[in-house]
Symmetry: C2
Subunit: 78 residues, 2 copies
DNA sequence: GTGTGACTACAAGTCCGTG
DNA sequence: CCACGGACTTGTAGTCACA
């Protein structure tokens, strides 16, 4: 019963490493702080939709791909 | 360029009306305030991922469906 | 039944640093 | 190169009275 944020973070990390980017490099592309990318990947931040789009673009993917199947068995704990 | 929030709001409204729900009824299902649903549908709120999941569940759909193709601002696209 | 502005509390996000 | 922390500013969450 992993939370949605952990699932997303895991996918972001996978995608990022596929592209051979460091957290800093990704942060640079998305104009995020380097520590923020770290927080997202570890599921520590409840990312907003517009930032989700920025990340998706930086990873050369789409929001719907990043969030595919994310609601199954993982209702947010608020 | 139409913002991603407007696109999302439009889809939420479409889905909601398809189900024959009022904003109040949807808000009830998602445990949101009635006015918050209104804000989302009008694209006035940069909704977070966990709330996106709640809305998706309340609408009997998925986050990835709601966010399909929103990153390039090309809404209808077919 | 819905749109809107305003409001407060707290999370998001930045910037400095450390091991 | 990354995890993590402290201190800080910006913005969202969530709600209300009223249009």
């Amino acid at each position: 019963m992993t939370g949605v944020l952990e699932i997303l973070g895991k996918r972001v990390r996978e995608k990022r490493e596929e592209l051979g980017l460091s957290q800093e490099a990704l942060a640079d592309v998305c104009s995020f702080d380097r520590t923020y990318v770290s927080l997202i990947e570890r599921g520590k931040r409840n990312i907003s939709l517009v930032n989700l789009v920025r990340i998706a673009i930086g990873l050369n993917t789409s929001v719907s791909q990043l969030t595919e199947g994310i609601e199954d068995g993982s209702y947010p704990k608020r």
